[in-house]
Symmetry: C2
C-alpha cells in the first residue's frame, strides 16, 4: 500500500484527493474553486477530446467557437434558464479600465449566445440542420468544490443543434446519448445506465433531459453526460425562425449536449485503487513504462543497450531515434506507441531514482503495463511484464515483446476493467419496493436502488429530504410490469433508479 | 469578380471583411470586440492547432491547463508586465451573487499564474526543464478591433518553460522561433522574416523578444508569432527557485511563446484575392469540391452514379459508405481525404443551388481544387479540374482521378502560393539609407524598409510619430557591413526592418 495514499476504506474523499496528488493529475489554483490541470490530467482530457471529437465528426458535426462573454440580459430571455444559472454566474463589470454599460456574464453554458447567433444564421429549412459543437471553458461559481467533479471553471464540449422537426431534434438527442454511452463503456470502461431525467432534475429550459449515469466505488452516483431536447423553448426565446417547406414560418427545434472534465473524476472514482490511479488502456497516455534495473556501469550499458534493441524491435529505429532527440530524453524517454492516439511507451532512465521508486511512480500514475529489464534478463533473453490491474507478473521471451503481444494484454486489461465495473454495479444495485426499507437502505448504504416511482417535484423533494437520494434517471417510463410507487404506494408503471449523487 | 466582395484596390479593409463574410469564417458577436468563429474559420484553427501541437510534442513538450482567472495582485508582481497589461484587462468583481474580496482579472496571458504554480512545482535541478504549453482563450480589452487580427477575446497557445541555465532558456526560445518559422512558411505558405524585437517593442517583462513577421498584400506588416526569453525576471517576481547541481539555490530561467487566431487573419491577408479566400492545401479543411452538373433526372442519376464510382476509386468503398451515413449527406457529402489531418473532399449535392452558384460558393471558401462532372464527361470518361490559385482548367481522364494526381496538384499549389508570397515580399522590400527618403516612402507607400538603425526608445518614438512605421525586427545586430543609422546618420552595424504594422 502506498504511504502517500489514504485507503478507500479509511477515508474515501481523502483517498480521492491523494490519488490525484500522487498521480499529479491536478492541483488547486490560487483562485478559490479553480484547478490547474497538470500534464497527465490534461493528456487524459486530450484523449477524451480526440475520441469524442472523432465520433461527433463521424456523425456530421463541425466545431465552432462562441464568445466567453454573454450580455447579462441574454440569460433572462428563457425564464427557467436564468433561474437555474444566474445564482452561479461570474460577472465582469469592468473592461479596459472602464465600467461596462451592461455587465457581462462568463458563460456557464452557451444556449443563449448561440441561440442569438442561430437566429441570424437560420432563415430557411435549407439552412437546417445546424450541427455545431464547441470545446470550451465554462464558469459556474461553486460554493463547495472538488477537483474534476465540481470546480468553478471547467472544460467541456457543448453541442448545439437546430432542426426542422421535433422528431429530428429528438433523434439527435438520442443519437448523442448513445454516442456518450458507447464512449463511457467502450473507452472509459465505466458501465453506465441510460435514461431520462425527471422534471425535477431536468436542465433549466429543456423539454427532455437524457443522461448517462455511473456508479462510483463508494456507491454514489455520478452523472457523466447529458443530452437535452430543448423543444422550441430556446428558439422561441431567441427567435430562431425559419421558412418551412410549406412556406410557413416556424421555430426551429434545438438540442444541446455535453460532457466535461468531470469524466476524469469518473475515471478516478470508478477504477483507481489504494495504490493509486488505474487507467483504461484506451485512454491512458502512457501504455507501458520500461524500468531498467542495474547497479554497475557495465550492467547499465548492457541493460540500456538491450532496452534500446527491444524498443527498436517494437517501434522501429525511426521512432526510437526521434524519441532520443526530444528534450528530456535523458530523464524519461517518450516513444510514441501510437501517434494517432498520442499514446506512449516510456523508458524511465532517471538516475536519481531507484527501480523500486520507479515502480511506485508509474503505478500511481495508472500506467497499465510495467516492463522490467535487469542484467539477468538480458543474459537469458527474458523480460518481466507487470499488469497494473490484476498485479500479475509474467516473464516473457524478449522475442515476444511485440505489438501483437502488448495489444492483446491491453485489450484484456480493458475488458477486465469494464467487467469489474459491471460486477460492482450488479452487487450495488438493489430492488426495493417499500419506502421504509428504502429509507433504511440510504441511511446506512450507498448504491443504485431500482424501484417503481411516480415522479413529481414534491415527492422527489420529500424523498431527498428523508434520504439525500434523488431519481438518477427513469429506466422505463412505461414498464410491462405493473408495480407500486415506492413513495406513495400507488400503482406505477415507471421504473426509476434512485441514488445519492455527486 | 464576385459581387459580394469589394476589390482590394478599391477598399482593402472592406475587402478583408467581405472575404471573411463570404467565406463564413467569422461573425461579430453581440459583445463589443468579440467574435464568433464559424465552422470554416474554426476548422482552420483546428488544422493550425493540430500541426503546431504535433511539433511541440515532437520536441518534448506537454500540454496543461491553468485557470482563466488571475488574482489582480499577481499582475503587479512584475513591474513592466502590469504596466503593459493592466490597461487591457477585463475584471470580474462578482461571483455567485456576491462581491469578491479581491477582483479577478481574466488572463490576458498567463506568465503570472503559471509562474506562481511553477514556484510550487520546482524545487531541484531534477525538476527541470519544465516544458508546458497551454491552448486557451485570453482576453485583452481592445478599443479598435478587427476580426482575427485584434479582438477582445482570442484563442491561442502559450508555451511556458523553465530551465536550469540561461543558455538552455535561450536555446528553447530560438528552437520555438524556428518551429514558428517553419510552420508559417511550410504550412501556411506565408514567407516570414525572423529576428529580435527592439527594447521598445519587447514583451512587457521579457529580456529578449523574438518574432516572425509577415508582409500582407497591402504592404503592412503582421507580427505572426513571438518567442520570449524571460531571463530570471518572472522567476524572481514569483520566486521560482531550485537547488542547483552545486547545492546552491538559484532562480530558474523561463521562456514564453505564442501564436493565436491572428494567424487566420494572416492567411486571409496574405493569400486571398478579389474572388475570396485562398487557402494553402496543407491547411485547407476541404481540399476538393466535386460539383455535379445535370439537368434531367436521367442525367442526375448518371452523373451522381459516376461521381460515386470516382469517389470510391479515390477513397475506397468504406470511406464513401461512411460519408453517406453522416447527417446532411443529401446536401453536402463530406468524405475524409485524410483522416489524420481531417481534410475532406466534398460532393455538393444540393438541389437548391445551380452549378454556377456552387462554383462561386467553394471558390469564395478557398477550396484549392474544384472537380466538375457533367453528363458529357461521364460519356467520355473525363472530368474537369479547376485550380483556385492560377485558375487553370484541366480536362483529365477519369482514370487519373487518383490520390497521386491530386497530391501532386496540391503540392504544386502549395509551392506556387509560397513562391508568389516570396515574390511579393521582394517587390515590396526596399533598402533606404536616407531619412528624408524614408519619410517620403512611408507617406505614400507600404512595405518593408531595410536599413541601418541604432535602436532607442526615443528615436523609435520619433520615427513612429513622423511615419507610423516601427522597427518590426532586428535582422542583424552585428552586421559585417558598416552603415549609417537612417535616423541619426551615425555609424551603425544594426540592420533592421521598418514597416507599418497591424
Amino acid at each position: 500500500m502506498a504511504r502517500n495514499i489514504t485507503p478507500r476504506e479509511k477515508d474515501y474523499p481523502q483517498w480521492y484527493i491523494d490519488v490525484i496528488t500522487a498521480a499529479e493529475l491536478a492541483d488547486y489554483a490560487p483562485v478559490r474553486g479553480c484547478m490547474v490541470i497538470k500534464p497527465l490530467g490534461y493528456a487524459i482530457w486530450e484523449a477524451i477530446h480526440r475520441d469524442l471529437d472523432g465520433r461527433f465528426k463521424e456523425l456530421g458535426h463541425t466545431n465552432a467557437y462562441f464568445p466567453l462573454f454573454i450580455p447579462e440580459s441574454f440569460l433572462s430571455k428563457e425564464a427557467e434558464h436564468v433561474e437555474g444559472f444566474a445564482p452561479e454566474c461570474a460577472v465582469v463589470t469592468h473592461g479596459g479600465g472602464e465600467k461596462l454599460e451592461e455587465p457581462l456574464v462568463i458563460r456557464p453554458t452557451s444556449e443563449t449566445i448561440i441561440g442569438h447567433m442561430y437566429a441570424q444564421w437560420i432563415h430557411s429549412w435549407r439552412d437546417l440542420p445546424v450541427l455545431i459543437n464547441q470545446w470550451a471553458n465554462v464558469v459556474r461559481w461553486e460554493k463547495r468544490t472538488r477537483l474534476f467533479l465540481r470546480t468553478s471553471e471547467f472544460l467541456w464540449q457543448e453541442g448545439h443543434t437546430a432542426h426542422e422537426t421535433a422528431e429530428e431534434a429528438r433523434e439527435e438527442t438520442l443519437r448523442i446519448l448513445e454516442c456518450y454511452r458507447a464512449f463511457a463503456e467502450d473507452v472509459l470502461a465505466v458501465p453506465v445506465l441510460v435514461g431520462e431525467k425527471t422534471e425535477a432534475e431536468r436542465f433549466p429550459g429543456a423539454a427532455h433531459t437524457w443522461c448517462i449515469e455511473g456508479l462510483m466505488q463508494d456507491g454514489k452516483a455520478l452523472q457523466m453526460g447529458t443530452s437535452h431536447d430543448l423543444g422550441q423553448n430556446f428558439a422561441k426565446a431567441f427567435e430562431i425562425r425559419f421558412e418551412g417547406r410549406n412556406q410557413q414560418l416556424d421555430h426551429a427545434w434545438t438540442t444541446s449536449w455535453g460532457v466535461s472534465t468531470r469524466l476524469i473524476g469518473a475515471l478516478i472514482m470508478a477504477h483507481s485503487d489504494d495504490d493509486g490511479l488505474v487507467l483504461p488502456p484506451r485512454i491512458a497516455p502512457t501504455l507501458a513504462a520500461v524500468v531498467p534495473i542495474f547497479k554497475t556501469d557495465e550492467e547499465k550499458e548492457l541493460v540500456l543497450g538491450t532496452i534500446r534493441k527491444l524498443m527498436v524491435g517494437l517501434l522501429g529505429e525511426e521512432e526510437v531515434a526521434a524519441s532520443e532527440n526530444r528534450i528530456g530524453n535523458d530523464q524519461v524517454q517518450k516513444c510514441f506507441y501510437n501517434r494517432l492516439t498520442e499514446q506512449y511507451v516510456i523508458v524511465d532512465k532517471r538516475e536519481t531514482a531507484r527501480p523500486g521508486d520507479k515502480f511506485y511512480h508509474w503505478e500511481q500514475r495508472g500506467v497499465p503495463l510495467r516492463i522490467e529489464v535487469g542484467p539477468r534478463d538480458c543474459a537469458s533473453g527474458k523480460l518481466v511484464v507487470k499488469n497494473r490491474l490484476d498485479r500479475s507478473k509474467d516473464v516473457i521471451d524478449a522475442a515476444d515483446f511485440t505489438r501483437a503481444n502488448l495489444d492483446a494484454r491491453l485489450d484484456a486489461f480493458q475488458k477486465a476493467l469494464f467487467d469489474r465495473g459491471l460486477e460492482r454495479r450488479a452487487e450495488n444495485t438493489h430492488e426495493i419496493g417499500d419506502y421504509k426499507a428504502f429509507c433504511k437502505f440510504f441511511k446506512k448504504k450507498r448504491g443504485f436502488v431500482r424501484c417503481f416511482f411516480n415522479p413529481s417535484k414534491e415527492a422527489e423533494a420529500t424523498v431527498k429530504s428523508h434520504t439525500r437520494a434523488t431519481v438518477r434517471l427513469v429506466l422505463n417510463a412505461n414498464s410491462d410490469r405493473e408495480g407500486t410507487c415506492v413513495f406513495t404506494g400507488e400503482p406505477s408503471r415507471t421504473e426509476v433508479i434512485f441514488g445519492i449523487a455527486y
